[in-house]
């Protein structure tokens, strides 16, 4: 906010701890502060699950790799023999991307819809903060949470890399995959935020719609090769997230741009509509 602050020179209010006061200075930091536990749990849980599944790699034998059904190849389970192939299947092909899809859908559904449903948004928007600014600052908090998750996953991979025989993948490959992972979370975060901002529907509906689109897109990306419709994959964010095989090839710049552009377009459309519609009650 641009106005001068008096609060710095005055004593704290009871109930407002130093941290609460420090984080209460903007909608962005306040949203981060209010979600600090949820974001931490998401990051830790996703990191730990990735760690566990990646840790199984040394136990994967040629036999188990061969026993993966043909139908699973579209989901990245076609090359279980190599470290990158295994991780692209179990960890970065299934578990982690679905988790961040749900992170995006769940968190995005809370950015606008939850507070509109409760009526809190009325109060906030009666304050000197524009609708656009509120939405963007809240989305920035969501994005910070997504980066935390990606960083936790990256940290887990780097920690386990040598011990789990994953050192055929470079640290740069892991970092590249973490970047597209964070962007995947942003796409679904922006989708849920935008649905809530544009429609004013309740939190459960918005979450359901965004998560449903996510699961559908995931399925399309996985099954498209089997029905000979590879082109369909290009319509899903999952293709841009892992199709370029960042673990092997490093950061796919074009794919990164696509994911970033989709996020921006979704957010832009949501914001545009949000600034023009009636708030629901």
């Amino acid at each position: 906010m641009t106005a001068t602050r008096h609060a710095t020179s005055s004593p704290a209010l009871p109930g407002a701890s130093g941290a609460a006061r420090a984080f209460g200075r903007s909608m962005f930091t306040k949203t981060l502060f209010d979600n600090r536990r949820i974001f931490t749990v998401w990051a830790l849980a996703t990191g730990l699950l990735a760690l566990m599944y990646a840790g199984f790699y040394p136990q994967i034998t040629a036999d188990t790799a061969a026993s993966v059904p043909e139908a699973m190849s579209g989901f990245g389970f076609d090359d279980m023999g190599s470290a990158a192939g295994y991780l692209q299947g179990a960890v970065f092909g299934l578990l982690v991307p679905l988790l961040v899809t749900f992170y995006g859908a769940a968190t995005g559904a809370r950015m606008i819809s939850a507070d509109e449903e409760s009526g809190y948004l009325d109060l906030l928007l009666a304050h000197p903060i524009s609708r656009t600014r509120l939405l963007l600052q809240r989305f920035a908090a969501l994005a910070t949470g997504a980066v935390l998750i990606a960083a936790a996953v990256l940290g887990a991979m780097l920690a386990i890399r040598a011990g789990a025989e994953l050192d055929t993948i470079s640290a740069g490959g892991f970092a590249a995959q973490a970047v597209t992972l964070a962007l995947l979370a942003l796409v679904f975060g922006a989708l849920a935020t935008a649905i809530g901002a544009a429609t004013g529907k309740g939190r459960a509906t918005v979450f359901g719609a965004a998560a449903g689109i996510g699961v559908l897109a995931y399925a399309v990306n996985g099954f498209a090769p089997q029905i000979g419709a590879d082109r369909l994959r290009r319509l899903t964010p999952f293709h841009y997230y892992i199709g370029g095989e960042p673990l092997k090839n490093g950061l796919p710049l074009a794919d990164v741009c696509v994911l970033a552009a989709v996020t921006a377009v979704l957010l832009g459309a949501g914001t545009w509509r949000f600034a023009r519609r009636d708030l629901g009650r």
Partner: protein, 309 residues
Amino acid sequence: MNTAIELTGLTKDYGSRRGLDDLSLRVAAGEVFGYLGPNGAGKSTTIRLMLDLIRPTSGTVRVLGMDPRADAVRLHRRIGYLAGDFVVDGRQRAGECLSFLGDLRGGVPAARVLDLADRLELDLSARVRSLSKGNRQKVGLVQAFMHRPELLILDEPTSGLDPLVQQTFLEMVAEAKAAGQTVFMSSHIMSEVEAVADRVAIIREGRLAAVDTVTALRERSLLRVRIDFAEAVTAEEFAALPGVTDLTVTGAEGGATLTCRLDGRPDALVKAAARHTVTDLRAENQDLEELFHAYYTGGRPGAATGPTR
């Protein structure tokens, strides 16, 4: 006289639900304005239009000389708003919440918040979720008043407050008025606003039913008359008298009791009654609450024919 709020031909069409219908209203700067109507009459709709939370179907709103939509951020800096059902994120402590809302306004002196909390006996260290409805409402009052806004927009401010706190609230409104602030407060109960309001508007089904000073509304009200006679009288003698309505005559041996409503001068009724022996005569003003119910239900409340001005 400066204008704080000006609504012109304001219409909000919700489709099936009733919104507002061609409502025009002017509130002067420095005035305490009561906005009355039954639940669902359109009070909150009007208020949310003034705050740009919803947009009018047609008509214009000017608040503090600004367009609520184009100047939303600048305007909100100068307004304090309390919603009809005040909601904040319940996980926060009251002090944390007020500190954040104050910072959204660029900071509010803590001493001011502490003073208001103290007067309202609000525990700032309690989690909002754990507060009773009345105490939560106090958080709402503090956040509306704390930055001494030029215009206070209060939707049902006293709901859930106990009588003692209501008194404190009325003092706060009086102080705001003394400091030159404008107060626009809605209610569905007349007695809540009549003590502090300079003028009141009554709306019913999205339309303005009356705007006037509390005193003038009181003068408009009917007299309720009761006369006891020492002998039997007939209703016919009185029924045709000017201003007499709702006439009943109950007879008892050796006497009769007449009750009626009287609108306007009592001269004709008194002269008619004087033909008999009058043993008792009582006349009282219809109370304002009753007057408002008359407006609410669309009945003719009194002498005035055109209640708007």
